[in-house]
């Protein structure tokens, strides 16, 4: 055993110092101050280690050792057809390559009045952009990665929905990684004012199988009765590292639908925090992780019921094959004032191999007395009775297993309302099975 002393991300500090003069907002004092403060925070925290309770099962040492480099210049040119193949039909498409918005690859159709979609980089170049307050709010940086992100952020999407506007076509944020060795620190903001509606797809993918590091943050603020669907699709290169944080603040009677489909990356960690801050707010957090070979996929979610009459629903499913490993940690905290909260959380896992491993930990903390809360976690294998039933009808064992695995996971796909997204996810899920199934399998 060689004892590795963590260098607390010194490489990342040096890389920042070398490149900060070419980061967006370099002439804006508020941006410069924000970056410097965030970097100091990162330095103080250092990369988490396995001694941190929240990182007990996930080692980020490879990210430290990887010494990924900030991509501060122009992104590499990318073939448009390759991008189009990833884009969902009928969406407002924003494409980012190695952490930089590429307008020529993007396609945002005429937006209804009251909707604005801007790239973060352009807002950082403004003296007053309206997003400063959001950064102030986030200044406590829950993790070293969030601090590193604020220091190094290159780009992202800023979506603003004015009161009462409803955007029918989804916003597809496509973050593509194409270059070996780079770190992409992207940050997106969504402000949904009262009674506004939108569907946002946050999609991380790669061209080829480069090794890189994605460190992404998304903040969503929902005004009264606003409704936001946020679908995260993580399809990184199987050799990539992916760290993501999503936070959502929910005002009165607002509704957040969050899904996380984690299919790619060598190591992926997603933190989702939903704060029910207004009475009657509702959130549903769904997720599906599918891992094989030696993939490691970690989800940490936290739902804070801060005020009365909030509803939260959470269902995460996992399918683990080979020597893959997954972590699910779901906290639901019902604070003392949050009477009549209603929370349900479930995590179900299917292990297809005896070498696959899951650490699941649903955590309910209840500090109010008049509440309805439940949680459940299961870990199982394919059912012999179901396999026999299918084989007795003529299916060979491999097809039977593929069909049952699909059936287990498909529930998460079925819950997606948007037809094109549902179809895409269904195809991706079928593509991950040991045997190809046709498209009509979904019930």
């Amino acid at each position: 055993m060689n004892a590795v002393t963590p260098d607390s991300g010194l490489h990342y500090v040096e890389d920042f110092t070398r490149n900060k003069a070419s980061l967006p907002g370099r002439q804006q004092p508020w941006v410069v101050a924000l970056r410097e403060a965030a970097m100091r925070r990162f330095l103080a925290m250092g990369f988490p280690t396995r001694h941190d309770e929240d990182w007990k099962y996930t080692s980020v040492a490879p990210i430290e050792r990887g010494r990924f480099l900030l991509s501060s210049g122009q992104p590499r040119a990318v073939d448009k057809p390759q991008v189009d193949a990833q884009a969902l039909p009928g969406v407002h498409l924003l494409v980012f390559v190695d952490g930089h918005h590429v307008p020529t690859l993007s396609k945002v159709d005429a937006l209804p009045a009251g909707v604005s979609i801007a790239s973060l980089a352009t807002l950082l170049e403004r003296r007053r952009s309206g997003i400063e307050t959001q950064f102030e709010a986030a200044a406590s940086y829950p993790s070293a990665f969030a601090a590193l992100n604020a220091a190094c952020m290159t780009d992202g999407a800023c979506v603003h929905l004015a009161k009462g506007v409803r955007l029918d076509a989804p916003i597809h944020l496509l973050f593509l990684s194409v270059t070996y060795g780079l770190a992409a620190h992207t940050r997106s903001l969504v402000f949904a004012e009262e009674d506004s509606h939108a569907v946002i797809v946050e999609h991380h993918a790669a061209l080829g199988t480069p090794v890189y590091f994605t460190n992404t943050v998304t903040d969503i603020v929902l005004g009264r009765r606003a409704q936001i669907e946020h679908h995260k699709l993580q399809q990184e290169s199987v050799r990539a590292f992916h760290i993501a944080a999503i936070t959502a603040d929910l005002a009165e009677q607002s509704r957040l639908i969050s899904t996380s489909f984690a299919l790619g990356a060598a190591l992926a960690r997603t933190d989702i925090v939903a704060k029910l801050n207004g009475e009657g707010a509702e959130c549903s957090l769904d997720g599906l992780y599918v891992a094989d070979s030696r993939q490691h996929i970690d989800h940490h979610t936290r739902i804070d019921h801060n005020v009365p009459r909030g509803t939260s629903r959470e269902l995460y499913k996992g399918v683990l094959d080979d020597a893959s490993r997954a972590v699910f940690n779901g906290k639901v905290i019902v604070h003392p004032d949050a009477q009549r909260s209603d929370a349900a959380q479930t995590n179900r896992n299917l292990l297809l191999s005896e070498h696959a491993e899951i650490d699941t930990k649903p955590q309910l903390e209840i500090w109010a007395d008049d509440v309805k809360c439940c949680h459940a976690a299961t870990v199982g294998q394919l059912d012999a009775g179901q396999i026999f039933y299918l084989r007795s009808r003529g299916l060979d064992e491999e097809t039977a297993r593929a069909l049952l695995t699909y059936g287990f996971a498909a529930e998460m796909v079925q819950r997606i309302e948007h037809p094109e997204l549902r179809q895409r996810l269904d195809g991706l899920l079928r593509g991950r099975l040991p045997q190809q199934l046709e498209a009509e399998v979904l019930s």
């Binding site: 012999a384 009775g385 179901q386 026999f388 039933y389 299918l390 084989r391 007795s392 009808r393 003529g394 299916l395 060979d396 064992e397 097809t399 069909l403 049952l404 699909y406 059936g407 287990f408 996971a409 498909a410 529930e411 079925q414 046709e438 009509e440 399998v441 979904l442 019930s443």
Partner: protein, 255 residues
Amino acid sequence: MLKIDNLHVRVAGKEILKGLSLEVKAGEVHAIMGPNGAGKSTLGNVLAGREGYEVTQGSVVYEGRDLLELEPEERAAAGVFLAFQYPVEIPGVNNTYFLRTALNAQRRQRGEPELDSMQFLKLVREKLAVLHLKDELLHRAVNEGFSGGEKKRNEIFQLALLEPKLAILDETDSGLDIDALKMVADGVNAMRDPQRAFVVVTHYQRLLDYVVPDRVHVLAHGRIVRSGGPELARELERQGYAWLDAVGQQAGAGP
């Protein structure tokens, strides 16, 4: 078509079938009756090839082949069909897709051309009409959330679609309302054919009023202890199985 000779089967270390013999010829309908726990479902499972059923003695010959040598899917392709006493739910998998995959898997194994969606749909419509079934069940996941009766009807629908040569129906009539029972019986009768045989496990005379069997057998203590014509079922309905105790003692005391 099917010849079972002195079959001994252990399940979870316990001997359940203890020297069962039965011969079924093409075109015949055999009813198997007997008390709970006698081994009727065990027999069906062994014939369909379920794992965990250890044959310690005896043989099963189906159309001149050693049936016990075959994998479950090979038996299906060879024409063996078991309608489950408790049909299994397969969440997330569309019923139509499942049925087409099953039918095509069998056809492929038999070297027959597969049916495309259109041909399959046409076949489905024909069979639905014969069975007076609503096609609503086809659009749902396999058996998921189906009522007990709907699951049984779905088994009969599969039977009609897959057109096996040897159909074993394990209490398909249990839990059915009168109309559904009639439908199941009509379905079976419509499929009666000189080339096809049925083994019908049931607890009730009711089904046998509609599907008149050629032979009725009583399975108890792991063996066929009595066989007769249709009148045997009526006799059992009147008398129950108390008389079996004597047989059991005999069997228990035997070598």
